[in-house]
């Protein structure tokens, strides 16, 4: 019951959630507060609410995903929405239909919320221009993944109680990572100090202009860090000769106890998943008591419930 009472004062002013860019500090904090309530609800025996009763949520995934899709599905169902999953394998996209045609077709089915993941940066924004419902970006190319950044921020706040002055080190494939971009924007807005650590081949050009400190040594970059955020390394990166081998990568950039020792003793270890144990993170470190990786998944559902709630006031078909 506490879930709706207090936070309903907060009026989220956006129709869509396309990225962290454009969100104010107050809006992010309000979403985190709302998420906190959702997290409590999710730990109750009766997790069901009816805020979105009668509403239709479509998960439109052009790129395979297990955790994000199921997280949104669960969030929608806990709020009472009817949830439909559409993935690229079963849609007409493979028959050459353009993204916009797909959007227009789906729009005709009168959904209220559309959760979209697409392999091209900007695709979700493009789609949002062509539909009447609220659109949530569940990852667009190397651009943004806003709900991931929000769930990371929530997890950090639950443990540290603040953002100001925290040193957050984001490590790994910065170049291709939408998680890194959204986290940089989110954590900077909340007042943390953000570092990125990567080999030069996996650093995005001009990244320092986004307000981060850039390191190419884990030992230096992790020094005194409060949060160690690891990114997934995709195997294609070896083929395109961005790094020489998995073993060399692990040697210099994999998170093991030796490197972690440079961070603060109470540093949190985070990973957006899915993990490559032994590639970017040592298996024991991943399961260490400082690791909050499983909590991140739990907070994922909570944050997505909060986002659905926040957008609900702008839904069409009223």
């Amino acid at each position: 019951m506490t879930f709706a009472a207090e936070p309903s004062i907060f009026a989220f002013p956006h129709r869509h959630l396309l990225g962290i860019e454009g969100l104010s500090r107050e809006e992010i904090v309000a979403l985190l507060d709302l998420s906190e309530e959702a997290a409590k609800l999710s730990r109750q025996i009766d997790k069901k609410r009816d805020d979105l009763r009668g509403r239709t949520l479509i998960n439109l995934f052009f790129e395979a995903s297990t955790r994000t899709q199921s997280s949104f599905e669960l969030a929608g169902k806990r709020l009472g929405a009817d949830v439909m999953n559409m993935s690229v394998g079963t849609s007409s996209v493979q028959k050459g239909e353009t993204l916009i045609d797909t959007a227009v077709t789906l729009n005709s089915m009168r959904p209220d919320l559309l959760v979209v993941r697409h392999h091209a940066a900007g695709a979700v924004e493009l789609l949002s221009q062509k539909v009447d419902c609220s659109v949530i970006n569940a990852g667009d190319g190397s651009h943004e993944h806003p709900t991931q950044a929000l769930l990371d921020a929530l997890t950090i706040r639950r443990h540290k109680g603040r953002f100001e002055g925290l040193i957050v080190a984001i490590c790994g494939d910065i170049l291709h990572s939408r998680v890194a971009r959204s986290n940089i924007l989110c954590l900077n807005t909340l007042g943390a100090r953000v570092r990125v650590i990567a080999p030069s081949t996996l650093l995005a050009p001009g990244i320092e202009r986004l307000g981060v400190e850039v390191y190419s040594s884990m030992y230096e970059g992790l020094t005194d860090a409060d949060i160690v955020m690891m990114l997934r390394l995709q195997r294609e990166r070896m083929v395109s000769s961005l790094i020489p081998s998995q073993r060399e990568y692990f040697h210099f950039f994999g998170l093991d106890y030796e490197k972690l020792a440079r961070a603060k003793p109470d540093a949190l270890v985070m990973h957006p998943g899915p993990m490559n144990r032994g590639v970017e993170i040592d298996s024991n470190v991943a399961d260490d008591e400082r690791s909050v990786i499983r909590e991140q998944v739990e907070m994922g559902v909570a944050v997505r419930m909060a986002v659905l709630q926040a957008l609900a006031r702008h839904l069409p078909n009223r």
């Binding site: 353009t98 091209a120 940066a121 900007g122 939408r178 050009p205 001009g206 202009r209 986004l210």
Partner: protein, 443 residues
């Protein structure tokens, strides 16, 4: 605006343009006077030509407006043959006429590729039958644009190809490029090259830098252009072939061009109107009409292009007119087609540089008339006795707003959508015949 229409019909076929500001960028002629057209050529010009002296000629009063040679655009992509739904020679020529362009050079990356005498002939015949302005084909320098075997450069030149190019891709193979340059030299043929190292540019969709990082898009470094340009210059040094860098886009390329010219090499370069007036920030939230090749670069690069034009390091301005339909542009940025239409807006957009005081009028118009004419061996581009009567009457100051739906091009992918421009073509004359009149056109 009635005044630009003939005031009386002449039986002789003579036309007198009187009360004009005669402007010839090549000779820097800039004075009041009139111009007489006879049999499609300029038969006389000067202050002595007035309505009173014109005799039996048809008289057009220019009301003191600027009369210049018609523009010559040496990089126009049309869809004919193969993609007529995007643009035909006829529609491109109407767009050209409305933009004061009296000669277009169409690029060879059509379907089929213009790599054979029969196709050069096809273009010339289609243009003769359907186009309002002069059309000259640029032929492929390798068969099928595959970058492997050179085309019949001699026969193609003889058939009417004015230059040779590899379309929108660089010829990656240095040995083939060397041979093409060396062989072309024997015919005095001009090689126009696109600059983009294919490996460095792989998957890149915009300029590399902070903006590409923010947007999460793959960027192309300036080195993709400069490496190819450096290589080409070395091959020109080796062969002596006439070489023209089709479009340069970054500051570093200018240094290379300047050095090559100092060495006395037969090297020239062009820049598109887009790279003179727009930059990567215009992409904003993934606006695909600003996606092009080479990509729009940083503001510093744009300023360098303007400086290069002003000091003569850059020889030619092109529209790089590339019509693309909604099916190509209404897509996620990385998947959208490259290219922007430009024939109708090139002159007005270029005048921005004049109004800003960045480039003098004479320098600006020379890059759009006399210089491309010289490079391509065309007799137009001059306001001189005996030259073809390819002319444009320009109002330097009329403000107007670009409305895509009113463009004559079949495709409406203009990056100047809604832009406020100053100055435009009022009257376009090709071989003595008016092909566009702003007063009658209603736009």
């Amino acid at each position: 605006m009635e005044r630009f229409s003939p005031q009386r019909q002449a039986a002789s076929g003579l036309i007198a343009l009187v009360n004009a500001r005669l402007f010839d960028p090549e000779t820097e002629l800039d004075r009041q006077g009139g111009l007489l057209i006879e049999d499609g050529r300029i038969s006389d010009l000067g202050p002595h030509i007035t309505a009173a002296s014109a005799g039996a000629a048809e008289i057009i009063d220019c009301a003191g407006r600027l009369l210049a040679p018609g523009l010559i655009d040496m990089m126009v992509f049309t869809g004919e043959p193969g993609h007529e739904h995007r643009e035909t020679l006829a529609t491109a020529s109407r767009a050209a006429a409305a933009g004061g362009v009296t000669t277009i050079v169409c690029m060879p990356n059509t379907d089929p590729v213009i790599d054979d005498v029969a196709l050069v002939d096809f273009i010339l015949r289609r243009a003769r039958d359907t186009a309002l302005v002069h059309v000259h084909p640029m032929a492929a320098m390798t068969k099928g644009l595959r970058g492997e075997e050179m085309t019949e450069i001699g026969l193609l030149s003889g058939a009417g190809a004015v230059a040779f190019s590899n379309g929108k891709a660089s010829l990656a193979n240095a040995r083939v490029m060397r041979n093409v340059l060396a062989y072309a030299r024997d015919f005095g043929a001009l090689i126009v090259h696109h600059l983009e190292d294919p490996d460095l540019a792989k998957d890149a969709v915009m300029n590399e830098g902070e903006v590409s990082t923010r947007l999460g898009l793959r960027g192309m470094p300036a080195a993709a252009e400069t490496i190819m340009l450096e290589r080409d210059i070395r091959l020109v040094e080796l062969t002596g072939g006439r070489y023209h860098a089709g479009q340069i886009s970054c500051r570093a390329s200018l240094d290379i061009i300047r050095t090559a010219k100092l060495m006395g090499l037969p090297v020239t370069c062009g820049v598109s109107i887009n790279h003179l007036t727009l930059n990567e920030n215009d992409i904003g939230p993934y606006r695909t009409f600003f996606k092009m090749k080479p990509p729009l670069r940083a503001e510093d690069d744009r300023r360098a292009m303007v400086e290069g034009l002003a000091n003569g390091d850059i020889d030619v301005i092109v529209s790089a007119h590339d019509p693309r339909g909604a099916e190509g542009k209404r897509r996620p940025f990385a998947e959208a087609a490259d290219g922007a239409v430009g024939l109708e807006t090139m002159l007005s957009a270029a005048l921005r540089l004049y109004h800003n005081g960045e480039v003098g009028l004479s320098r600006l118009l020379r890059a759009l008339t006399a210089t491309p004419a010289r490079l391509l061996g065309l007799e137009g581009g001059r306001l001189q006795k005996g030259a073809p009567a390819d002319l444009v009457l320009i109002d330097l100051d009329t403000p107007w707003i670009v409305e895509p739906e009113r463009l004559r091009s079949k495709s409406k992918n203009t990056p100047f959508d809604g832009a406020r421009l100053e100055g435009r073509a009022l009257l376009t004359i090709v071989a003595g015949h008016p092909v566009y009149n702003y007063a009658n056109a209603g736009s």
